[in-house]
Symmetry: C2
Subunit: 332 residues, 2 copies
């Protein structure tokens, strides 16, 4: 295909849906090589952004309660799922092929929110006080958590995936071999995602832009926001992969920063991760005087969980890394 | 304490021991502020290095078998554990204090080895062919895996820890709240480790230098080598921590490189990690024509396992990151 044949499309919020179902008609059909600009909604269906525009400050307690109840659903988008934009059919795509998604640009929103929904987060059973924070991201570079604490923006789409071969409606919450709610923070602009195709046309959908998120997303949310994703589609005919794969942007890395890290050692990896996170929350409480429920929110947006070793039986080691560059030392 | 009071000591391989036991007499007693230069042995008790000096090339099959049998033990150091140098008593240290270990320098050996011991690695049940590799690290910057494939050196000590309060001999293999075999690759020169002290004097020991290792250490070994660690000790009286913590060097990060990554999604984190690793091995087989057993060795030294999300029930996501900068494109 010649370069000049490549087209750019736009898909707006009229194409929002809230579950995976290969019976959903495509909102758009594109050719390999085409680019689509997707407008996306956040998991509060825009309510958080609207609320903050009316009354900047802490999250509306009613909204926190809604999120804390574990419901991402609000009329008129019933379905108990993330609002996703799509599906996009890619001409020629067939089961057994691989869909290539080049992430050209992610434009974050001006405001974001983070919450600790009950029953979802890694330590939610210990932190029963639901909390929420509205982030001012209007400078386009970082979100303001508190005077002297800023988290750099590195926006990505929490959900990118294709339809399942299995019929019926599938909830958006769990990720699967077809992708979906993978919440991988390295899928920023410049990265390329590879998804295994299960149905004709692939039927790709996207949503849940996060302005920033740590590996782990420990509270259950990143910096949740509306945003615009510009994605270019390609097709690898006859190349089958088992699970989603990706290539990062050339310079992706941890934030260049010294880190404070805490460790956990347990025969259960999840328990090791919980122990490591407790060490981070202790540190944020003791050294930075943050209430524990607020420390948990902050950690969800910038603390990375890494499996240091998974071989020294019977105890595996998880280390949680907090970038110390978020402490700007000024109240700006 | 005045700067001039700080002393530098040396502890050689005469102080090797192979288990944790607070009844072991200190090989050295130091004051807070003192520095100790430790000579360390690798987990083959120097046999790999001696063998390669006599006959460079692939690992001696007998040595691979020894390692594959899961035994790190060789006379005269019976005890089925890593050879550790120590213990060092720190004057004034008491239970409930925190030991501060500044990692001033890690001098790697000229040669290293990696193996896939049976029954230890993350996919060892699928990769029943034990394999081994000897790394030429004589340039001091990277280890040679194959023509065109070099892994950058970032040496650290796989084992750093203090004695347990519980009496008796404790094996070195599992890490614990007292540290030990934590295998954390970010504990390079410039980092500072904090260890919770359980016994009078702390009784610190160190060993198991790795020239490089990915987060996860998936085959059960990094680039195993002899080495020299220069550590400065400090004491935080009355500060109790639950688990080891650390601060990284200012510029620690992932290797600055684009990455290829593979994902796994499962309700069991270990299974998610296994699936992600399979994706990396598939890639190394298909794109770089490495035999799977060799790909496994390479992955153990440079592939990082990160927990992308641990909240999107019922499936958690682990991503495995392979730095593409290891493919140097030249046979040098």
């Amino acid at each position: 295909m010649r370069q000049t044949d490549r087209r750019t499309h736009h898909l707006g919020r009229e194409a929002i849906h809230t579950y995976w179902d290969h019976a959903l008609p495509p909102a758009l059909t594109v050719a390999p090589g085409d680019t689509v600009v997707f407008d996306t909604l956040d998991a509060s269906y825009g309510r958080a952004a609207r609320q903050v525009q009316e009354q900047p400050g802490d999250l509306d307690p009613a909204l926190v309660s809604l999120i804390a109840a574990g419901s991402y659903t609000t009329p008129p988008n019933a379905g108990n799922g993330h609002p996703l934009t799509g599906p996009v059919a890619v001409a020629g795509a067939a089961p057994g092929d691989t869909l290539v998604v080049e992430i050209l640009d992610i434009e974050p929103g001006l405001w974001g929110w983070t919450a600790s929904p009950a029953g979802i987060g890694l330590l939610s059973d210990e932190l029963i006080e639901p909390a929420g924070h509205i982030w001012d991201c209007r400078n386009g570079r970082s979100g303001l958590f508190a005077p002297g604490i800023r988290v750099p923006l590195a926006p990505f789409c929490g959900v990118m995936g294709v339809a399942l071969a299995a019929p019926g409606r599938h909830p958006t919450f769990p990720p699967r071999p077809t992708g979906g709610n993978m919440d991988i923070p390295q899928l920023t602009a410049g990265a390329t995602l590879y998804l295994p195709i299960q149905v004709k046309g692939a039927l790709f959908s996207v949503g849940d832009v996060h302005g920033a998120q740590g590996d782990g997303e420990v509270s259950g949310t990143g910096i949740e926001m509306e945003g615009t994703a510009t994605l270019r589609f390609g097709l690898q005919k006859g190349r089958a992969i088992r699970q989603p794969q990706f290539r990062t942007a050339p310079q992706v890395a941890m934030v260049p920063s010294p880190y404070f890290a805490a460790t956990g050692h347990d025969h259960d990896l999840r328990e090791a991760a919980r122990e490591a996170l407790r060490g981070i929350l202790d540190y944020l409480e003791q050294e930075h005087h943050l209430p524990r429920s607020r420390a948990y929110l902050l950690a969800s947006t910038c603390v990375d969980l890494r499996i240091s070793q998974i071989v020294d039986a019977p105890n595996w080691t998880v280390s949680a890394f907090l970038p110390l560059s978020i402490f700007t030392g000024s109240a700006a």
